[in-house]
Each structure stands twice: as C-alpha cells, then as structure tokens.
Assembly symmetry: C2
Homo-oligomer: 238 residues x 2
DNA sequence: TTGCTTAATGACTGACTGGTCAGTATCCTA
DNA sequence: TAGGATACTGACCAGTCAGTCATTAAGCAA
C-alpha cells in the first residue's frame, strides 16, 4: 500500500527521501511505560491484521502503524504469532468485560430485550466480523484460539441468554415448551445475520441494510415460538 | 520436511542420491489427458489447502499429493491463487449440481423435510466446513470468491427453502404469518449449528454430537412458529 | 525403427520477510 | 553535569518458496 513512499524516481527523489528520513528521524525517540507501548502495538496489530490477516501482514507494517521500530515489537512479544494471539485475546476480553458490568433490569422481559440489544450491538460492530474471520481463518494453525473464543464469547453469551430466557419462563412470560434450547437458536439467528450483514454482497441480496429491522424480524420470529402456548404437532418425518 | 533426502553428506552419499533418484525415476513419467491431470491436481489441492489453508500450503505439497511435479501444476494453473480459486469453485459447484437433480416429493411438507435433510446432510459433510473456512479466511484477499460462494451456495439454498416453505403455506400446512423471512431464519439455525458441530470444543460444550438430534431440535423449534396460528403479541420493546 | 512433438520434470533463482543484535539516544540518579 | 541503565532502533542475515526454463522422455506418425 504505502510502501513506495521512498521510491518514485522523479527528479525530486532526493527531496522525498530526505523528507522521509527527516520525518522518521525528527520524531524523537521516546520512552514509554511498558503497558502503554504494549497497548500501542496491540492497537496497531488489530488494524494491520484486521485488513490483511495473519500471513499477509508484515511485522514491519505493524511497527509502522504503531510508530515504533520492528525491534521494539520483539521486546514485547516473542514472535508474530504470539502478538496475533494476544491481540485477539485482549480485544475479545475488553469488549466482554465492558458489557458484563451493565445494569440489569428487574423486569425479566425488559432485561431480555436489553441483553439481546447488547449482543446485537456487539456483533454488529465493525470489530466483531474481523475478529471472527481471523479466528476462523487461523483455526488449523491455532485451534486453542478458537476454543478460547468459543468459550469466552459464544458460550458465555449463550449462557447469559439462556438465563434471561429462563427468568421469562419463571415469570410466566415465555412458554416453557421450547425454552431449553432456545438460547442456542436465538444465538444462531442473531450471529448468522450479523455476519451476513458484514458481507456487502449478502447485505444487498438479502436486504439486510437496516440493522434494527433485521433484529426486529428475528425477535418477532423468536417470540412467535416463545409466547405460543398451542401444543404443536411434532415433526412426523424423522 | 522431506527436503533433505538428497543432502546427508555421509560416505554413502552417492548411494543415497542414486536411490533417491532411482525411486523418483522408477515412477514412470506418464502422459494423461489434460482434463484428467487437472482433476488430479484439484483433488490434491483440496486435500492440501483443506488442512493448512492457502498460505501454509506449499505448491510442492500439492504436487507431491497429486503425484506430479511442481512444474506440471504451472502448466495447468497460472499461479497458486488461481489454483485455490478454481478448487473452491469446482468443489462448490460439483456438490450443488449433484443435489439439484434430486427428485421432488409431491407433498409439500414431505418435500420440505427432504430438502432440509439434504441441506443438513450437505453442511454436515467434512467438506463443507473446510470450504467455508477457506472462503472466510481468504475474504480480504479474494472478495469475489466470497460473493461467488454466497450466491452459489447460501442464497441458492435460502431460495430453495423459501420456495418449499411457501408451498407449505399455500397448502395450509404452515401459517403465513412468519413465512416471508422464515427460510432465512431456518437457514441461520441450520448453518450455525452445523459449523459449531465442526468445532470439537463447541461440540462437547453444547452437546451437539448427535447430528440427528440437533436437526430434530431445530425443526421442532422452527415448526413451533410455522404451525402456530395464535396471534402473538409483537415485541413492545423496540 | 526413427525422429518429431510436446507433456512432464525438478534444480535453480530472485524476492521476500521473520527475527537478531550491535549500536544509539533517552532518562534518571547522584 | 556525568555516567549508568536500558528502551529503542534498523541494517542485516538466513531461511523460505513461488515461479521459471533447460532438459528429458513418452507417445505417435511415417
């Protein structure tokens, strides 16, 4: 991308080079607390890896974005893979910790809606599909990363949803019939739709532009089962 | 890995070299029709890329698996990326063409179950999660591949499901209330569950081992909405 | 059998990049 | 202000691998 800053072989080549060097040199070397540098590098890593993935990204690029030298990165992380791993880990944790401390609502149904809204908001950030793609893409190379992600994000959300749904059942708002696995179903629908929404081609083909409308559809469908009290004829075709 | 076969500089170097060459030479060079060679290479590419992904896989590995030399691959494909792309394209197409010609059932509900069964079978092959992962992983590098995949696989299946559902509505088996977007919802649940099932950690945590039971759960949930005729209170919490 | 065409081979090359480390600049203490 | 400790730098190195091409041999026609 912006690799050729130094190269254009016009007559002012020297000027450009000089400027580039100058700007590089002018930025005075600064010492920062370890924590701050680490955060700086992690942020740059998210930006760089997020665009190109683990393999396409050069450590030099991460260094450039972070505004440090390549060597500095190796002072804080033993290698490229470890940096990648830590970047995923922190991004996932940071987001979940922030959401965990949100206030609950005393009314179960209201709280259910709050929770679903929070989840929908989370998976519709630009950050989420990036992390998701990176984790999936890195699966064969780092299976433990997908396990971390699964336990730390997917399963945790499913448990939160299930707890909230169970509260609505206890409350009498939801029918108990389909409750047991319903969090899983809701999670599936929300997740899949959010991921589709991140793909421009799917977005237009399926008319998913309006995020609120999509959520509304999913909830209407979901509540169609949960509020229903009529016994349904089970699937005869196994 | 097996690069150093020729190198060990012991005293029997010559013998080793001769043997290595001999074994390589013993496999007699064969000429094959272009189509056959291409298929051979594509199959090997699926095997190799499927394990390690685009970047981890060496062209030499594909060649070794295919039983041809590296140079031969470049007679059939201009470069590594083109081979990868073509491998995805053919695998997706081959599978869908095979399923397309299945016989329909005159009864709408029976045909719906047949279709869902076929889809569930497809996304639960070991092949599907591999292709899915590769496409997702390659997204930033080859967005057109994801578009091809989306249109050729996801959207096509959603349309088939929707048609089948609409037939059940016309038939009076399904309530029309939630029909419009229901294929999308069903597709989401099936897809997400199938992909989870491919991750060992998720599989155990969510008790997804029994594929038939999972499908049964999803269908029961889905039919809970579609058979329901009670008007439901819409979500008050927008 | 001879000789031609071309599929097939694999040693080689050039470009690339992860990781290193000798040297430099900053900051802090005395 | 001197001098030690160390955060930081970036030129360099060694390994890797996609892609090339001179050479080989299979298969065919005469």
């Amino acid at each position: 991308m912006s690799k050729n800053v130094v190269s254009p072989p016009v007559n002012e080549t020297e000027t450009v080079q000089t400027l580039a060097l100058a700007s590089a040199r002018h930025e005075p070397r600064t010492r920062r607390p370890a924590e701050e540098r680490e955060a700086q590098i992690i942020d740059a890593a998210f930006e760089a890896f997020g665009v190109d993935g683990l393999n396409e990204t050069r450590i030099d690029d991460v260094a450039r974005i972070a505004g440090v030298s390549k060597g500095t990165i190796y002072l804080y992380f033993p290698n490229k893979e470890a940096l990648f791993r830590e970047m995923i880990r922190r991004t996932v944790i940071a987001r979940l910790d922030a959401l965990e401390n949100e206030a609950h609502d005393p009314d179960p149904l209201t709280d259910f809606h709050r929770l679903v809204g929070a989840f929908w908001g989370y998976i519709n950030t630009s950050e989420f599909p990036v992390i998701h793609r990176l984790v999936i893409g890195a699966l064969p190379r780092m299976p433990e990363l997908s396990q971390f992600f699964a336990e730390r994000a997917s399963l945790r959300w499913q448990r939160l949803l299930q707890t909230s749904i169970d509260a609505c059942v206890d409350d009498g708002t939801f029918s108990p019939e389909h409750a047991p696995r319903s969090a899983c179903m809701l999670h599936s629908m929300l997740m899949q739709h959010a991921l589709m929404r991140a793909l421009p081609s799917m977005c237009t083909a399926m008319k998913l532009d309006d995020g609120d409308a999509v959520l509304e559809h999913i909830l209407t469908f979901f509540l169609g089962v949960m509020h229903s009290t009529t016994p349904i004829s089970r699937a005869q075709h196994a």
